[in-house]
Symmetry: C2
Subunit: 312 residues, 2 copies
């Protein structure tokens, strides 16, 4: 049995990420008591039915008041308001953390509400699926994945170490970086990829010359991969783009610049330029597979995943 | 046992698609004899070792000369040259077909070499993976997937019907469309998605502020999906962009126009516009899953596919 790291752990927002943390912490035995809070009564009912925690609250402040660690797992846009609710009641020595996909804006919104007697250690687990809600979570979500911590330079080292131990205890690997660098890195590896996926799906739906039914029928030729990403939660992603605006616009500028060069190469029939890029990009896929960040199975292993759905 | 459709079937180019057709035709018993041709001696060795056909040739013309149907499964750019090699020797009544991802340019390149006593019926199966070569193929590749036929208006109906029966016999659903419409549809559902995947992977590799090792470590946040597509065969994809230039540039123009609007919405903080698009795109994913064109499992079912690679 693993060492109990926290007597009372509170999770605010019991969706995909919050419920996965609850399941994983319980499975690893890292907290004696798990407290859950969510404003949505259907979410609270599911949380209770699934026995995700020991107590379920409608009021975030109540759940947080007696906790040793409080992890906010709600959309980026409401994290400031939640900090305002839970901050004043935090116990001396308690840790406040989050899982938001953006760090700079969340820290600016949350930090002012953290009393001097508590510790704020922002975090972001690099794991998820396109689904959301308490039923979508699972205990293994973070295994072998990275979690980024972005503490301020004067954060309490003991609090940072405890949060690191929690994430490692549920299977994650932990890295520390500044909020600014975090937001730049995730603009290119996550936010811009989501934006272009949403965009191409939107473009395809709006065409006059190609029907929506054709787009759906023939999607196995590439398009369907993008639709998975473009099925992600609209609230979560709206909040990410609104709150990481500068880094997203910067990376989007680079993307468009490169796309323009590619467009020109196609127009002028410069096959060698296309071939050179298409060869270079393969190496990156190889590294991702070698480092265990994706499956090596062709087509993401779709065949073995769900033959029934795949072979209709 | 299924009815034999062809006495002698020849496949020119024994890669992912060619070897999958050979396996599927053999499994379904649709041809008495399968003849294979490939200019690459390593491919021929693998084809023989895997017993993909009854005879393996270095010379395409030789393989085709006595066949009742010849299916060219080579990159788009060489299909014209192959037609020039095999065309003159085709038997009276023989069918010449292909599997190229582009139709207009291939038809312009191949059709002039087809003698009056043979039938040309171009085709395109909407199935594949990011892998290539004879070892990557499998008999079930076409099951439940669409294959497009693009015969000219004066094509022999009996020849078209026989090719349809072959594709249906290996599990495919068949649609007929004009080459022009085909090229427009696949520009948006396949070619532009591949182009933007190649492009974002290239952009991410070239940044100064974010290292390549960071891109790889944190790729599970969205980026890795794009790297799978951007690991597709460079020759195949160079040929597609060079041979479907006009439709790709047209669809790319629409994509960029829409992306510019999205960029503007982010710059001006127009959350409602983002939310509206992100909601609309979910419906398309739902239709794709309902129509059996993708798995409903979260993350493409990666968890069940290859836990070892995923949880390193
Ligand atoms: N999904 C991913 O792949 C992923 C990965 C890494 C990080 N993240 C981050 O994790 C956070 C949660 O994402 P998720 O995927 O878990 O979303 P989710 O499944 O939609 O869960 C979010 C939960 O927060 C609740 N909530 C909304 N407003 C709240 C408030 N004011 N106080 C307390 N709870 C509130 C929501 O309730 P309602 O039912 O009322 O909406 C919902 O139950 C986001 O910040 C996101 O950026 C997500
Ligand atoms: N992959 C997909 O997802 C997919 C889907 C639908 C349609 N297609 C189309 O299918 C065709 C083949 O793609 P693939 O994925 O099967 O590619 P592949 O695995 O690379 O196989 C192509 C084969 O054709 C051979 N070849 C090259 N030049 C030739 C020539 N002059 N004569 C005869 N054979 C030649 C290649 O030999 P080498 O070893 O010398 O290269 C290789 O063995 C392409 O036109 C593509 O557009 C592909």
């Amino acid at each position: 049995m693993a060492k109990v790291l926290f007597k009372r752990l509170a999770i605010i927002g019991v969706g995909l990420i919050g419920s996965s943390i609850a399941r994983a912490v319980r499975k690893a035995g890292l907290a004696e008591t798990i407290l859950l809070a969510d404003p949505d009564s259907r979410v609270r009912e599911r949380a209770a039915a699934l026995s995700l925690g020991d107590e379920v609250f409608a009021d975030s402040g109540e759940a947080a008041a007696n906790a040793d660690i409080v992890i906010v797992c709600a959309p980026v846009g409401v994290c400031g308001a939640i900090a305002a609710e839970v901050g004043p009641g935090l116990k001396p020595g308690a840790i406040l953390s989050d899982v938001g996909s953006v760090k700079g804006a969340i820290i600016r919104a949350m930090a002012p509400h953290v009393p001097a007697h508590a510790h704020f250690v922002p975090a972001h687990p690099i794991a998820g699926t396109e689904d959301s809600g308490p039923d979508a979570g699972f205990a293994e979500l973070f295994e072998g994945r990275w979690t980024i911590l972005a503490p301020s330079p004067d954060a309490d080292p003991a609090a940072v170490a405890k949060l690191r131990a929690l994430w490692e205890g549920i299977g994650a690997k932990v890295d520390v970086m500044t909020p600014e660098h975090h937001d730049l890195v995730f603009a290119i590896v996550s936010h811009v990829p989501h934006l272009i996926a949403y965009n191409i799906v939107g473009t395809a739906a709006d065409l006059e010359d190609v029907t929506q039914s054709e787009v759906i029928k023939y999607s196995a030729s590439g398009f369907r991969d993008f639709t998975r990403i473009a099925a992600s939660d609209p609230t979560m992603w709206r909040d990410i783009f609104l709150n990481n605006r500068d880094a997203v616009l910067q990376m989007l500028g680079r993307f468009v610049e490169d796309l323009t060069a590619l467009q020109r190469a196609i127009r002028w029939g410069e096959g060698d330029k296309l071939f050179e890029l298409f060869t270079r990009t393969r190496a990156i896929r190889r590294d991702i597979i070698e480092q265990g960040q994706d499956t090596a199975a062709p087509d993401f292993g779709r065949r073995s995943a769900a033959p029934a759905a795949d072979h209709q």
